[in-house]
Point group: D3
Chain length 130, copies 6
């Protein structure tokens, strides 16, 4: 069980409902996932977070599937259960295969390993990299 | 200063020198960066880590630049100075522009933010994501 | 299921029971939560941890509710399920409203985001801050 | 040295300069710290991050000094050098004494300790906390 | 539920089955735990990870039980549920008592506490330690 | 530069000086490292942290060198520069060789890698481990 109430569309204040409607419109879905229902306890936080996510995850210099995979890489590193599930689903909807997911995880594993070797041995950065 | 000696090519044992030579050959460079010089204190660890990195970062279901960016995303999340510098250099050598790097960081920032909102509010995973 | 047995008051050794009794007395409750029952497998660890928590969380230069909120901020950052639940309950008992909790989480989210932007871009500290 | 160029006011594009001017106006200062100069490499990221920070850190259900302390608690947990320096300076400007800072750190230390005891022993959450 | 299918021995490709058989042979068991069944979605990742684990956890300059305890210390710090359970079981099979586990956790707790005090206060490293 | 003043023995209040003297006596040294000089800004925190460290790191079910190595494993995982330097020095003083340190780091690297594979793939814990 969560820490705060999940606010449903039917009971939401107008400014919350407006964000919910926009989320469903942009995504072409007819339901709202729990993340937004929880943030709805603070309508300003809900609005800001949605605006940010919409802009950051949109196509730009990087394509949206690469962005989903970067998001998953961070979430796996942090061990965020909710985010791993929701963004793996989003990645798959954008074309991520099991083979791509497994390679992504192999890179995440390698980076977490070598990050600690570099940190633990306090290896000085080569001047060539600066 | 690091925790262990950095072992130079000239003074390295043959099994270390063999890995160093392979690294330079595969990468088409004439120098070895400090990460490998530090691992050389344990030749078996050096050999295993190089074999893994070579295989994981090679082209596969994901292309090498995407893999570099995933690696940077993890390293920024963990705050690993050495790894951020070395893999940003590697990413740039493979075509990562400043615009791509900044978008990568925007996703890393967003994911670290929303990871904590999801974890901190203990938001239950929607059945649709499982 | 946990990794170690939860030790109940009725079966506890005298030095464990003494800590349990003090916890209930100081808090004005008639039950012991699982955290302390697990630590009771090492009576010295139980005693030290309770003494520390009692002193650190007491009123001082900061008031106890601010301390609970700092504790929650760390626990959300680390993703500690047990600690989020137990200290959110403690915070609420000391007057933390849902609005306060949501603002707390907004700060935690922001800090986790900007921490990674600063770390990932290796931004040098301004001399004015030192 | 950082990973990207620090963009100065004199050379900044108009949309960057507009954010820089607003930051100095809101804070009543005549200089811009490096964090914003680095984000200026992506003007949209700079704008979004500033808008968020301005709103999240403003007075609300929590007062601004409490918010600064929550921010410091997260930054100390993540080990973000830049953020610790910049927000300790901000906290002090808002009235945080050394005694308050030391108590803050004592709570951060305690929470990081007990988070791992709870996680490492996989202690089940008491039904009373849910 | 996991993110990928758990691949059972009966349905596994020959190169996966070869790793599974070796795991059971080396460990003297007649079952495969879920970690390997999940990695089997990428046979090369399965093979590499098993080879590494086998070599790293083998007797060397450190004895295998110390290595299991180091592994548990990392896993408790990262809050990895799966790894805590599997390596606590492995540690116990190698002779780790409850008293040893509790002392291990006390060190993990202390280190996580003092790590944040040192990082949060940005304490400069004494020249004597370098 | 640190966030707080480092308090020297000559200028310390009597209750701080008493802890400093005890540290030098127990360790058989004639100097105090910066960690304690920083904590001295809060004499109660200094006293509590020293008492805890003294008790936790003492011989018990685990020997002191194993405890130092567990401490290093946590510090490398967290990337705490101060703690890595100070406890590597302590470990070496207790007999840790370079070969032992490198194996320790290999385990730390492996655990950080496999922790993320297990978390990222949300691998369910086998009933046999519970």
């Amino acid at each position: 069980m969560g820490i705060v109430k999940l606010i449903e569309h039917a009971e939401a204040a107008p400014e919350v409902r407006a964000v919910f409607d926009e989320i469903m419109h942009v995504r072409g879905t007819d339901w709202i996932n729990n993340f937004w229902k929880a943030l709805a306890n603070d309508p300003a936080l809900l609005r800001r977070t949605w605006e940010n996510a919409k802009q950051v995850m949109a196509p730009g210099a990087l394509d949206p599937l690469v962005k989903e995979m970067l998001y998953i890489a961070v979430s796996a590193t942090n061990g965020c259960e909710y985010c791993i599930h929701s963004h793996t689903a989003a990645g798959r909807a954008k074309g991520m295969s099991d083979a791509m997911l497994m390679e992504l995880m192999a890179v995440v594993g390698l980076a977490n390993q070598t990050n600690r070797l570099a940190e633990g041995l306090r290896i000085p950065v080569d001047p060539q990299f600066k």
